[in-house]
């Protein structure tokens, strides 16, 4: 499967990444190479092998249900560009 320039632009937009016009075609060919590698891996015979969801063959550990975090709003908001009344302010979102 080969990745076209419009695919690169679409993926970049979905990921909110800015891509220079001049770099689009080189990204397309690099991503196509990766897809080629995946196609190669797809050819391996995997019938009867349970797919893994994670490279670590372990089960998720669970945490007891306790509220352990204290209010750290002040320090957590220290880096925010704009806050008011305890809210983070962001550029206006049009719904």
């Amino acid at each position: 499967m080969s990745i076209q320039s419009e695919d690169v632009l679409k993926i970049a937009h979905l990921a909110r990444l800015g891509v220079d016009e001049g770099e689009v075609s080189s990204y397309a060919s690099e991503l196509s190479n990766i897809m080629g590698l995946i196609e190669q891996m797809q050819e391996v015979e995997t019938t009867g092998i349970e797919p893994m969801a994670h490279p670590l063959d372990q089960a998720q550990r669970l945490r007891p249900d306790e509220a352990t975090e204290v209010n750290q709003r002040q320090s957590l908001q220290a880096n925010a560009p704009d806050v008011e009344d305890g809210l983070f302010l962001v550029p206006r979102v049009l719904d």
């Binding site: 679409k10 937009h13 979905l14 990921a15 909110r16 969801a53 994670h54 670590l56 372990q58 089960a59 998720q60 550990r61 669970l62 945490r63 007891p64 249900d65 306790e66 509220a67 352990t68 975090e69 209010n71 750290q72 709003r73 957590l76 908001q77 704009d82 008011e84 009344d85 305890g86 809210l87 983070f88 302010l89 962001v90 550029p91 206006r92 979102v93 049009l94 719904d95």
Partner: protein, 479 residues
Amino acid sequence: MAIQWETVIGLEIHAQLSTKSKIFSGASTAYGAEPNTQACAVDLGLPGTLPVLNQQAVRYAVKFGLAIGAHIAPYSIFSRKNYFYPDLPKGYQISQFDKPIVGLGEIDIDVDGQVKTIGVTRAHLEEDAGKSLHEDFHGKTGVDLNRAGTPLLEIVSEPDMRSAADAVAYVKKLHSLVQYLGVCDGNMQEGSFRCDVNISMRPMGQEEFGTRAEIKNLNSFRFIEKAIAHEVERQVDILESGGKIVQETRLYDSDKDETRSMRSKEEANDYRYFPDPDLLPVVISEQLLNEMRDELPELPGAKKQRFKEQYDLSEYDAELLTAQRELADYYEVAVSYAAGEAKLIANWVMGELSAGLNQHNLDIANSPVNAEQLGGLIKNIADQTISGKIAKVVFEKLWNSEATADEIIEQDGLKQISDTGALEKIIDQLMLDNEDQVAQFRAGKTKVLGFFVGSIMKQTQGKANPQQVNQLLQKKLKD
């Protein structure tokens, strides 16, 4: 001939799980805190943080699955659902995609006496997003992330419902069930239980589904019903004028009673799900399954059946009394204090008590009159210590008091006067004082009996036994 349309409805319900802490962090989930005081580094998606799954959220999901007879996945995984919005700081929501924790199950609903089985496709665990406040903050949007990371169970139904009534019955059934199980508080105003409705129309008899529209975030039974009615009308209008339904997300505006299209976000449905590398697969052991099976309470359907048999209640009464677990518990405690006056208790619980609670906007959990007090009151009616009329007076007093019914009746001297001698004395005096009325009665104007009964009740402050007063009066006036 006009085409007959069939409505096809499927529902997605988001039930907020009643955990103390969030699904992937130790921040509190308590409702109503100051903005961002319950949003920790994990909830804010700060670099270097990792999610750790809350055990209770898993247990609650399993419990729900068992209650609807669903397959519980021994192995389920979390995936990332990617989209950008300011109240989703990581840029993705941790959810479940192809291996949800709860698989196919079912729920029986009762619509107009007809039982229907609605399939539940799946239920999966996910985290909630924060809240965006669009009021004007100098042209900016405010973001409160307290809700971010709150555990949700998303319950997805099969497209098995055919009317608004079906849908409402299904939602009510689930709403009651999650509260019975104690996995969700069911508070719809606070958004703990909300509903998305998928609706499509097809000509009656056609197998294939029509194009559907989704109505988001309905948070009351009435809105669900009205939004469906409105959407059905809109779609039929479009189809009958030769148009096509666009697959889209719509919002219900309860003020205007209409649905309108949400500005369709570009590429909105391209969520690019993939397994979250920060979380390992969740393994549900046989031991956990057994523990959860043991913890399952008596479920609403079984309780209703038992109430009908054990307390000899009608279908209607049993349905109302078991709709809420707290109400059912209240009822049973009250009956135990009222020497088995099951029917009378049912009448009082659904009558005086419910009316009082509604009027004061209270629910049964914080009823000012507890079950023991109400049971004690009914016992006094049953053994004729007080009349039904006086009982209402005692009930009023119980509302504002910690005392028992016995204590109030004793203190205020409200015991019914059933002493024949005492009543006769009152009647004799009354007849002497009102010779005119006595003569009228004897002349055939029996309506004046009301005057005598009224006077006696007034003199005894309503405490005279009414049947006895009637009997004695009839006898004496006719002498």
